[in-house]
Every structure is written in C-alpha cells, then in structure tokens.
C-alpha cells in the first residue's frame, strides 16, 4: 500500500525537476460518503495548476484534504511538499510547512476586525507579506481595517481571505474560487499578483469556475469529475481540446 510516490511520475511533464507538491492516490470521505477517489497529481515549484471540474466534482474536497483539514477524512494516500510528508500533519502543521488555503466560503473570522484577521495569520512563524504591503495590494482593506471582518462586502471579504493567505510565508497557495464575487478590475489585480508571486517561486493550485481565465493564467490543468482525475496536462492542451472543454467545462 504505502509505496512512496515517484516524484517524476507525471508522464505529461517533460521537466526533469522533481515535483514540489505531490499528491498521490488520495482517498477521502465525509463520514460515509466517498468523495475523493484516488486523486494523484504533481506540481512543480513555481507552477500554477488549475484544478477544474463541475459543481460537486470534488475540487473543494481535494483542496481541503491537501490542506489537512479534518473533513473530509483522508483514508489513504500521500501528500508531499518539498520533501515533507504532509499526510501525517494536521492543518496547523501543514501551514507551518508552507501550505496555505484560501477557502471557498472565505471564512472571515467573526468578532475580529479586518486588521485582527490579518494579524492572526502572523502569529505563528513563518510570516509573509507585511500588513502595509497587503494594504497596498488591497487599498480597500486598508480603508476598512478597523471594521469587523464579517461586515465587509462580499468582494472585500474575498480580498481579505486572499490577503490573509499572503500574510503567511508560503510555498504553496491553494486558491478555492478566488475570483468569486470580485469585480473584474480586482480580478485583473489579483492575476497580476499571482504572476508576481509565481516569479518568486511560489507554487499555486487554483480552483476556478471561470475556467478560461484560470487556464490563461495556469501552466497546467487537472480536471476532476466525480472525485477522479479525468485529465492531466498543460493548460494549453485544454484550451485546444474542444471535446474536453465541452464535456467537463462547458466552454
């Protein structure tokens, strides 16, 4: 059962560099429902991977499993990040190891102001962007820093969730529908930021319903359907493959 993952296993990837984030045969359950059914993929350092699929395909569940949250429960599989085995860690340990998730429903913490929400991310080392830098990226948050986080508008909350992830020093950024509820101009901004952090060597996995935008940004794409991988290749391949797009992405 416990065969070590092959860091160079990905057939579609010609690169010789070992995978930075490697997910191998992941199985996960919510209670008794079997949701993630043997997902494997590799991401290289500094790459952006788009994880796509229909509603209910299991994207969120996969990300949550990788971020080591309690639900869904991983029953089998391995997750390696930069030679650390995440699958034995709890979510807070994974975070220290360099993993960061922007959850799909934003999860702004009630009772805390915007600033406290950000400070909270900086309590445990390693710490990433400073608050000033984050406010520069999202001036809107700077203006509203004393406001209680949950009273922000939907888009502002999304900004806060992204900012909170960047406030930590990360190796891998997991984004679950980061553009949801954001005005197009802000989406542009965030894309720029993602490109920017990519240059710094941060690896990103992005789940996004706006598949075209995500694919334009991403290097590679993985398509999920009912908890299994149905495609693993470069982003360009997806954009070129009519039938694939039509079947799984409706674009």
């Amino acid at each position: 059962m416990n065969v070590k993952p092959d860091f160079n296993k990905n057939a579609n990837q010609a690169a010789t560099a070992p995978a930075f984030l490697s997910v191998w045969d992941l199985h996960a359950y919510y209670g008794e429902s079997y949701i993630v059914q043997g997902v494997s993929f590799n991401v290289h350092e500094g790459e952006i991977l788009a994880l796509l699929g229909r509603n209910g395909a299991g994207k969120t569940s996969t990300l949550r499993a990788i971020a080591r949250l309690d639900d869904p429960m991983v029953t089998h599989g391995e997750i390696w990040l930069d030679h650390q085995h995440l699958h034995t860690m709890k979510s807070h340990e994974a975070s220290v190891a360099g993993m960061s998730l922007v959850p799909e429903d934003r999860r702004i913490i009630a009772g805390l102001t915007v600033e406290e929400n950000l400070q909270l991310a900086q309590i445990v080392e390693p710490v990433g962007w400073s608050l000033e830098r984050l406010y520069e990226l999202f001036p809107r948050l700077g203006e509203r820093r004393k406001q209680e986080g949950v009273t922000l508008s939907g888009g502002e909350q999304q900004m806060l969730a992204i900012a909170r992830a960047l406030a930590r020093d990360i190796k891998v950024l997991l984004l679950d529908e980061p553009y949801e509820g954001l005005a197009p101009v802000i989406v542009d901004e965030i894309e720029k930021t993602l490109m920017h952090i990519k240059e710094q060597g941060i690896t990103t996995v992005i789940v996004e319903q706006n598949a075209v935008r995500a694919l334009e940004l991403a290097d590679r794409a993985v398509i999920l359907d009912t908890g299994q991988i149905v495609f693993d290749g470069t982003a360009a391949e997806v954009l070129e493959n009519e039938s694939l797009r039509a079947e799984y992405l409706a674009i």
Binding site: N55, G56, E104, D105, R144, P184, V185, V187, Q209, A250
Partner: protein, 251 residues
C-alpha cells in the same frame, strides 16, 4: 411608475457613507441589473429593500406601498424574495423540505397552525416543489441533506426556494457566483424564461458580465454608494467611466 421605487436612500455605517442618495426605479417585468465595484453598496441596497437594514433617510416603495418599517417576513409576504450573496438555506433539512417551506409560506401566509395535518398529504404543494426542483435540475437530490451539498448546488437550491414563491420581485445577489459554466448558462435560461412566462420582475447583482449582458434590460452602475449611470446594456458596455472603474481592460 416602476414596481419598485427607491428615492433618496441614505445609509451610513459609522463614518462610511455606504449609500448616498440612491434613486432607483425598477419597471415591472424587467430584469434590472445593479453592478459596481466591490463595496459599492449593492448588497446594502438590497438589505434596505428586504428589511435587513433600515435606511437613514429616503423611501422605498414597492407596488405602491412603503416597505420601510416592515419586518422581513412581511416584506416577503408583499411579494419580494431574495437570494443572498452567501447561500442561506435550511442546512439541516433535505432539499425537498427546503423548497416546501417557501411553498407553505406562499400558500398560508406568515403563520398558520398546521400542526395536525401531515406534510406528506399536501399533494399539491409537493408537486409544485418537485416541479421547481425539476426546473433547476435537482430533483434527483431531493432527499439529500442540504448541508452536504457543494456550494454551487446550494446556490441553485436557494434560487429554487425563491422562485417557487413566484414573487413579484426577485432580488438576486450574485446568483451565479461559483456556479459552473454549464449551470450558469442554464440559470440564465431559467431566469429568462421565468421573467417572460411568469412576469417576475428581477433585480440582479452580478460581477459576471456574461450573465449581466445576457439578462439585463437596464443596468444601474453603483459606485461608492451612489448611482453612477443607468442605461441599457449596450450603452453601459461602452461607457468609459464604467470601464475604467469597474470592468477593467479585459472588456
């Protein structure tokens, strides 16, 4: 004279003028979109319409009656239903029950002591709810626990809950956010059909321009709490100010 007349509405949150002198008129049987940057006050405006917030000044008339000072359930009984930005559903109940409740609310009013009848014997209501679920493609999930659905499904469920009431005015706050492209397209069709066939007026907030331009007959652009322009979709698309402040260069 529109079915909804908002006149001179102001709302402050501490030092922030969230809404400043908003005037809005929604004509019967049209789809009216409200767009604008994040934090522009779009959701706040809806909150003022459904009784979640009370404007500091101004008036809101629906169907010739003022909604101000009425409780949320009274406003709903007047014929306004709302889809929230983050799905508000009865998560401990099944999908079917989620849809049945608005059916009963529509049929019986705000309170009726139906303690002895059995739900199962209310054939008419059940049929209606099933038809609605059919419309949103969720009939196969009717016995599912709504908490365990993916986010996109929750969205659709909430929409079904509002549609089944056949309100006179349907308020939609980013109904397609996080919805897969295929479902988004279905939703557009569904809303269009409903608007045409059942004469439901709609006010929709959306950041997805595809949705906005496919549905809206008129668009109001809100920025910093004040309406910037109100016009037809074609004119808005080309409006330079809107492009700069909101749409970005992508459009």
């Amino acid at each position: 004279m529109g079915i909804l007349e908002v006149k001179g509405v102001n709302k402050r949150f501490g030092g922030l003028q969230a809404l400043g002198d908003v005037n809005l008129s929604v004509q019967e049987n049209t789809v009216h979109a409200i767009i604008g940057p994040n934090g522009a006050g779009k959701s706040t405006l809806l909150n003022c319409l459904v009784g979640k917030l009370i404007p500091d000044t101004g008036s809101v008339m629906f169907d010739g009656q003022s909604v101000l000072g009425r409780k949320p359930h009274e406003i709903n009984q007047m014929g306004i239903s709302r889809v929230f930005q983050t799905p508000e559903i009865f998560s401990d109940l099944t999908v079917m029950e989620n849809v049945l409740i608005p059916c009963f609310a529509k049929r019986d009013g705000a309170f009726r002591m139906h303690a002895y009848e059995s739900v199962a014997s209310e054939k008419e209501v059940i049929e209606r709810a099933e038809a609605m679920l059919e419309d949103v493609n969720m009939l196969d999930k009717r016995h599912m626990h709504s908490a365990s659905m993916s986010r996109g499904d929750k969205r659709r469920l909430e929409m079904a809950m509002c549609l089944v009431q056949e309100p006179k005015l349907l308020l939609l706050d980013e109904p397609t956010a996080g919805m897969a492209r295929a479902d988004t397209n279905n939703t557009i069709d569904l809303l269009k059909e409903i608007n045409e066939k059942r004469d439901i007026t709609m006010a929709i907030i959306e950041h997805d321009m595809h949705v906005v331009f496919s549905l809206a007959e008129r668009i109001t652009v809100l920025a910093q709490g004040t309406p910037l322009v109100e016009d037809t979709p074609e004119n808005i698309k080309g409006h330079p100010k809107v492009q700069e402040a909101y749409l970005g260069q992508a459009h």
